[in-house]
Amino acid sequence: MIKQVLSLVAIVLLAALIFAPMLINTPLHTSLTPLANYYATQGADDLGAPNLVTAIVVTYRGLDTLGEVTVLFIATAGIGFLMGKKKKLITPKRPASELLQNGASFLLPIIILFGVYIFMHGHLTPGGGFQGGVVIASGILFMMLINQDWSHNVFLFLESFSGFFYVTIGALGIVLAGGFLDNRILPLGTFGTIFSAGAIPLIYSLIGLKVGTELVGILHAMRGEE
């Protein structure tokens, strides 16, 4: 009881001293901040990507995104380390039902295709590597539900491959263009088409593969252990 009262006091203090002033004093914007204004007016000319959020995530703040992918990798590595080596997979009491098997085999290619679509079109439409990667991981979850003996090695390979090439393309930017992770190592192309915006579709696809395979790694580590 005393703990609950203390918690309530702490939360009320936090709300009154920090949240309420923030809520009252944060102005309702009516125009863009100078930085956002620069992105809005110059972003299309600079990078050739119609989706400005993607331009910021992949190029303007590309280093930030590399850091985020690293955090994701460390979290996955931590999960893999904690779950440890599998003694043996839990043998299922019965095979997956026919409904699940057929439904999953039917949906799996469509889900993977949808994920690939989302990260290939990250520079044109809402979406991108992070969202596409999560969609792909959900497709692989289906595969894990129906197929019990299933090798993880191909995903480990894809994960290292995409991470390596992401950094390599970033480093190429230092040599061929303005700096690390600059997308102008490839021609900018026609504004608004799929093969445009320089290296953005390439980098975002690699991020998508990386995020997808890392989440599959989490699923794999958490799956059936004695």
């Binding site: 944060t26 125009s31 400005l52 985020e68 904690l82 995020v211």
Partner: protein
Amino acid sequence: MNLVMTLGFLLVIIGLWAMLTQKNLIKIIIGFSIIDTGVHLIIVSIGYIKGRTAPILDASVSVADAANKIVDPIPSALVLTAIVIGLAVTALMLTFVIKLYQKNKSLSIDDYQELKW
């Protein structure tokens, strides 16, 4: 007053209440996830400008007119990555809980006194 930001703070408060009062480790993690969602809402609401559209340049938002028609793209970009990181961190916490349960066969925070002072 900003409605979305108010809701975001409300979610943070609900999540914090769950983290402070619940005894079950999994419920504490659910509280953390609720805080996570609330923080995302707050960040997005900072960049919102009334009556404007998503920062994607297409037929309806021309390049020349973009500065007057789009919301701030920076908070959206930050939240986009934060959502995936939140997912991975939640998975890491759940892994800790699995390991703690395997070792001590208890999900109650009262049974883990080692870090208490």
